[in-house]
């Protein structure tokens, strides 16, 4: 996927997010560190451009809630969490780049609960690559890509990687397709 394809998807998300609201002030978007933050911001920009609506935006780091951090050799870096509004009674859309096992989303739901009690949590991902290990399904999906576990989906964002794009990479082989 190149940046044009992605822009179309962002626009679709913008419409889907607002579809069921007369007044979207209840809605809040939370991007998950690291690349989910940028995907979330793109959607936010699309909503602003398309509807002129200002939606609350937050950033979530789920390191503290992960169930797998101790199986790694090194303790993972903790990144910033920034939710500058009250979550009580809000409709939250969590945004991440890739949905894989579902474990990160589980941690994110735990994390959100410690900020308050949202009315509803939905989940949006750019790429769903399958291989779920938990009973979790996305509410909004950019594209579904059936993958081998040997493959990796890499979502690139301009701020970190110099381009907006999505690649399917064979692990061991570099940047194919």
């Amino acid at each position: 996927m190149n940046s044009e394809d992605l822009n179309r998807t962002y626009l679709r998300f913008a419409h889907q997010f607002l579809e069921s609201y007369d007044n979207p002030s209840r809605l809040a978007i939370i991007g998950m560190q690291t690349r989910g933050v940028f995907v979330g911001k793109r959607i936010l920009e699309s909503i602003q451009k398309e509807f002129g609506a200002d939606i609350d935006f937050g950033i979530l780091d789920v390191t503290f809630y992960r169930d797998d951090f101790r199986s790694k050799l090194k303790m993972p870096d903790v990144k910033v969490t920034e939710i500058p509004f009250d979550l009580y009674d809000r409709d939250v859309v969590l945004v991440d780049d890739v949905l894989y096992t579902g474990r990160t989303v589980r941690s994110a739901m735990d994390a959100l609960m410690s900020y308050g009690r949202p009315r509803k949590i939905q989940f949006c991902c750019m790429v769903d690559r399958g291989h779920r290990e938990l009973p979790i399904a996305p509410d909004f999906t950019g594209m579904y890509v059936p993958t081998h576990s040997k493959e990796e989906v890499r979502v690139k964002v301009k701020e970190l990687d110099g381009e907006d794009a999505v690649y399917l990479v064979d692990v061991g082989e570099e940047e194919d397709e």
Binding site: Y65, R70, K72, V78, V80, G116
Partner: protein, 317 residues
């Protein structure tokens, strides 16, 4: 450079003192502590990160702040905590330190926070047990988490400490806080001046790369941060006191309201507990220039960061 380089990896197993930590290690801990500081502001300030860990707080010496702060940090991260204080334990029955720690360790402890009046006890414990050891103050040697929280607090108003001027005022001789701070601050590139009566400043201290002043006015005019230390009367013997009276000490080395007007730039810190009217006038401690209570809050965050980093990934052999 205010952050560790990209290829940096934190590789410490214990926190015995800042002398074992590199500049990058210190910057990394402080950087991570920012994320933990944020947790404390959440409606539910608790994360499950250490719920698989058991920690013992081994306090052979009295403490309010440090002990509560450690315990709170541990509980905020969901660890199981057991507390030990020498006065109510088998130490009174003559059990040795090594036996005590090995017994506690047999109960499957992952981390030990220790305070002891003898310098070197944390080092000694690393040889007795497998757990991660955190020094919460050993004699007049080091008190690394206090220095880390002091530097964290300074970073909140001076994001880069290089070239910043820090004055440490008061009882230098008996202070472990000052040793850790000198080591840490000089590694981060700050300039440190020690100030106090001659009897409270050891002569060899310049070897640590700091300057000494016996003039409070000069020091306050120079510094960006003034850290007052508590006069530790319990460590001075009767008959050989190191200064005539507390009132005279306050007269010469106490920070007063006039100083705040005269030198409008410096911030005031104190590791606590404060003797109001000795190290500083009561109004000074309550003024807007004092960040003493911020230090206490930050202490919990810094200790959370240290506990997190030392709780370790899966150490595959």
């Amino acid at each position: 450079m205010n952050k560790p380089p990209d290829n940096y990896a934190f590789n410490q197993k214990h926190l015995l003192g800042l002398s074992d930590y590199s500049r990058e290690d210190i910057l990394y801990v402080l950087e991570q502590a920012k994320s933990f500081r944020e947790i404390l502001d959440r409606p539910i300030p608790k994360v499950p990160t250490l719920r698989d860990k058991t920690i013992v707080n081994l306090f052979y010496e009295n403490s309010t702040r440090t002990r509560l702060s450690f315990e709170l940090a541990q509980k905020r991260m969901g660890a199981d905590v057991v507390n030990f204080s020498a006065s109510t334990s088998s130490t009174k029955k003559g059990e040795s330190l090594k036996d005590t720690i090995q017994n506690i360790s047999s109960m499957k402890i992952d981390m030990v926070v220790v305070r002891h009046r003898s310098p070197g006890v944390p080092h000694f414990l690393t040889q007795c047990v497998d757990a991660a050891i955190l020094n919460a103050g050993d004699g007049a040697h080091e008190h690394p988490t206090q220095a880390l929280l002091d530097m964290f607090t300074m970073q909140q108003f001076h994001s880069d400490l290089r070239g910043k001027k820090v004055a440490i005022i008061g009882d230098i001789s008996h202070s472990r806080v000052v040793r850790s701070n000198i080591i840490g601050l000089t590694k981060l590139g700050a300039e440190v001046v020690l100030c106090g009566p001659k009897t409270l400043i050891p002569v060899q201290v310049k070897a640590l790369g700091v300057d000494v002043s016996y003039n409070l006015e000069e020091t306050l005019a120079w510094c960006d941060v003034a850290m007052a230390l508590r006069i530790q009367l319990e460590r001075q013997d009767e008959g050989t006191e190191l200064f005539p009276t507390l009132r005279e000490y306050h007269e010469k080395f106490g920070i007063k309201l006039d100083h705040l007007d005269k030198y409008p730039d410096f911030k005031i810190m104190h590791p606590g507990p404060i003797n109001r009217g000795v190290e500083m006038e009561s109004e000074v401690a309550d003024s807007e220039r004092a960040v003493i209570l911020d230090q206490v809050t930050n202490g919990v965050a810094v200790r959370m960061a240290v506990l997190y980093l030392l709780s370790g990934g899966n150490r595959v052999s």
